[in-house]
């Protein structure tokens, strides 16, 4: 069972401002509860396989300049830096 406190903690970690945590508890709980079906899949001994791309097939590790100054599209920047609020 996912508790309201857990949702509050996770949303804080994800930096999401949620007014009413209760509103999310029921649906998030229903969704995570459904994921419990994974327990009966019998995959404990399965190895996780990932697609592999040989390094030879990757593009050259070379800087490709972009033709626009993206930083100038922002409202909050100074020189070549993004302006951010103060860290607490």
């Amino acid at each position: 069972m996912v508790t309201e406190e857990e949702i509050e903690r996770v949303s804080k970690l994800m930096k999401i401002d949620v007014d009413d945590h209760k509103e999310y508890v029921d649906k998030v709980h229903a969704m995570i509860d459904y994921f419990d079906i994974l327990d009966s899949a019998g995959v404990e001994s399965e190895e996780i396989s990932m697609p592999e791309i040989p390094i030879s097939q990757l593009r050259e590790d070379k800087h490709v300049p972009f033709d626009q100054k993206l930083i100038e599209k922002l409202n909050n920047y100074k020189g070549s830096y993004v302006r951010a609020p103060k860290m607490s």
Partner: protein
Amino acid sequence: MTNLKISALDYVEQIQNGNISAEDFVSETVDRIKKVDDTLHAFLSVNDDVIEQARAIDKKIKSGDKVGACYGMPISIKDNMCIKGSKTTCASKMLENFVAPYDATVITKLKQQDAVFIGKVNMDEFAMGLTTEFSAYGPSKNPWNTDCIPGGSSGGSAVSVSAFECVTSLGSDTGGSVRNPASFCGVVGYKPTYGLISRYGLISYANSIEQIGPLTRTVKDSAFMLNMICGLDSNDNTTVDNNSEDYLSGIDSGIEGKKIGIIKEMIADGTDPAVLSSTKDAISKLESLGAICEEISIDMVKYSVAAYYTITATEAGSNLARYDNLRYGYDFPVEGYEFNSYIAKARKNFGPEVTRRMIIGGFVPSAGHAGKYFLKAMKVKSKLTKEVNEAFKKFDLLIAPTVPILPFKLGEKIDDPVSLFLVDINTVTANLTGKPAISVPFAISNGLPIGMQLFANSMNDKLLLQAAHALENTVKLPEVPI
């Protein structure tokens, strides 16, 4: 009066023969959008200069200049693909004013072929959903019955093709988001092999499994679109070399002697009787064309939806972390805010479904929960891939209905996330395994379309399109009533 109901290939032929002009066709398409889109809400924006673009292409044709293969064909684009200088909102308030500074690779390729981008179309916010009801700008409606959802997340793409508001469309498919709305709106929806089309410029949701794909009136049109937009891209290292395959050539080859596996778990309890009956009909039609059809069990399908949502929520939690209000978002002043609260305030504007998935995306891979959820989901994905690869040792193709149920009423399932999950049961397998799959409009029940889905092994897209074309030719469906 121009016939807007023609296929992409017919459009090209008629332009080449001088029977129609790009300007007339595009202009009448804009009129059509004005006429029907207040009701359907497929479009989030319609480009202002499309008639001028079409006129310029007509001029090129008349002067004998080289013209691209699209000849000014009006194409709609799901609003999660970047077109330089155009708004790309992802149907989210978060990107309401985001103007893309570059073109997605698929857009670059289509521009080179003289496509006209008629507009950006509706979707579930950040492609999270399967009804288009989670768009921050309101849902699209199904042209077959406007009380019903059109499917999603590429709902606007499917509606725009189905209701003759464009000739073809591009959508993106993370768990069925091209095939599901295609099935619900009576058009063809095709998810190619993972890596066949570059994702550069597609706003990320779950990169490891999502894929751009066309929605078209015919299977041949999907092959035509694939020919133009596939191929290696140095901006997307997951793209694969297809050796310049021509997917249109030999598309009439038929399916005689091909072995087709009927996936048992995708016609299980809960499948609508009309969908079940159409599946049986499709199988007997394929057999009458010389295919050999047999049932096959793919056990992991039962766990695929849970694995899919666990993996996609985790990837979404990471991908959407970029919406920090510093580089993307609202750009409100930084003064007076603490760093974390500034970002959290901006993210408050995510819709409820995105917020839920972000929370789940933080929960399932977290310390103490990863072993139970995320790692297990990844193991299911690996085992499912093994099982599907085994199936393709015995069969050339697999078949199942695209969606086990018929299009349902707007609002009917919006408050029941688990019941919505299960609508994805037949589509997520292709994404989790990277295999190509296509939905072909096959039947109408109670005035609503039913799509039939075919799967092939990775890079066997040509065979898939040949089989889908053969299946498509066995039926003639009525015209959309709008």
